[in-house]
């Protein structure tokens, strides 16, 4: 089955992973800007990173027939540095019209601090003013419920983003209902130990239906599995679910969400 991975950090994966993803049916990857494992020191570091996302990664993916899309931001962890964040925010518009850029992300909260919330609102403001989609990271583990509700409060207080232009990612059993009831897209991340599993994601689809749900691997430089979306497909098939329901989650929903970006160009394989 052809599928998208709507959240994967290919900049931290070797090229063999593109080869594997392509063979397993992945036709497009969507890569949010994220924390590299250390705090970058300057806005020029981010400029180089955005250059890598919008050029090198697109070329690497293309050589395996995978379309690469990307998102731009300063991530929640580094957002604690307000002055650097504002420099990065001012620089982002330089890259917004590059091919493959889908919008602003992955913004969000990390430890749910005041500074993180300030920079989150400024990212939302940037996205609204430039008419961009938004991809949101919700915090890890014990911070997730509190942080998700704070994020939803901030979006509600702003009031401007269209619900259909916002994906709230890394939802789990205790946050998915809040996100879906608020009208946003909800991403389930299949990541070892700290996030969801294919079986639990399948449970969530069964409990809430496939509307506005997506799955992703968020594979990065840590222990993670870039083929997690095919694991979900396999789990759903094992349970006897129809191909149309599975395709809704792994293909139709990402296509519909990405398609709301005016710059979005579907993978060549679809266009043909």
């Amino acid at each position: 089955m052809d599928y998208f991975d709507p959240h994967i950090h290919m900049v931290s994966r070797i090229t063999d992973d593109y080869a594997t993803l392509s063979r397993m049916g992945c036709i497009g990857v969507s890569e949010p800007a994220f924390w590299a494992g250390y705090d970058r020191g300057t806005v020029e570091g981010f400029r180089d990173y955005f250059e890598q996302l919008t050029s090198v990664e697109r070329n690497r993916a293309a050589s395996y027939g995978v379309e690469h899309y990307t998102w731009l931001c300063i991530n929640a962890k580094e957002a604690e540095n307000v002055s650097l964040s504002r420099e990065v925010l001012a620089m982002i518009p330089e890259f917004l019209d590059r091919p493959g850029v889908l919008g602003i992300g992955e913004i969000g909260l990390n430890k749910n601090t005041s500074n993180e919330a300030i920079i989150f609102t400024e990212h939302v403001d940037l996205a609204v003013k430039h008419k961009e989609l938004i991809l949101i990271h919700t915090p890890h583990l014990e911070d997730k419920l509190q942080g998700t509700r704070m994020i939803l409060d901030l979006l509600k207080h702003d009031g401007r983003p269209e619900r259909a232009d916002v994906l709230v990612d890394h939802v789990e059993e205790h946050t998915v209902r809040h996100v879906l009831e608020a009208g946003y897209w909800a991403g389930m991340t299949l990541y070892p130990t700290t996030k969801c599993t294919p079986a639990r994601a399948a449970d969530i689809v069964e409990m809430y239906g496939p509307e506005r749900l997506l799955v992703n691997s968020a594979a990065d430089w840590g222990p993670s599995k870039p083929t997690a979306v095919p694991d979900f497909i396999f789990e759903m098939r094992r349970r006897g679910h129809s191909e149309s329901i599975i395709k809704r989650v792994v293909y139709d929903n990402p296509l519909e969400f990405f398609g709301r970006c005016r710059r979005f160009k579907a993978p060549d394989r679809i266009a043909k």
Binding site: T121, D125, H130, H174, R200, D203, E206, P210, I245
Partner: protein, 127 residues
């Protein structure tokens, strides 16, 4: 809307899940045993570690809190009332949400919020 009918019956689900369940329960049992053996070792005479009494107390309190959470989670597993164990265990391990946080945050950060927000005029013109 939830999916209408689960393709698998309850018997089929248990048939599939029994061995993985058994395996995960053993993992939990072994981890708890491991913890208790380490606790018993700690109670026996061991060379004193160079930790302050405050550090030791803090460690003990953190351990007690985590153990209490684990025990409460195990109790949730036994409660078959609403088929929402996963959600309840997630909530158990979550920080509290304060419904007044936003009002307090706005009041404390009036000068910072909205300052230097990038405007569309900041977008560089194409050459």
């Amino acid at each position: 809307m939830p999916l209408p009918n689960s393709p698998l019956s309850a018997d089929e689900i248990l048939e599939r899940e029994f061995l993985p369940l058994r395996s995960r329960l053993l993992d939990i049992a072994a981890a708890l045993d491991r913890f208790e053996r380490a606790s018993d070792d700690h109670l026996e005479a061991k060379p004193a570690e160079a930790k302050s009494s405050e550090a030791k107390l803090s460690e003990t309190n953190a351990t007690k809190m985590r153990l209490a959470q684990v025990e409460e989670a195990l109790q949730i597993l036994l409660d078959s009332a609403n088929s929402d164990r996963a959600e309840r265990i997630q909530q158990l391990f979550s920080r509290e949400y304060d419904a007044n946080w936003h009002t307090n945050w706005l009041a404390s950060n009036q000068e910072q919020i909205g300052r230097n927000s990038p405007s569309i005029d900041d977008k560089k013109e194409d050459a």
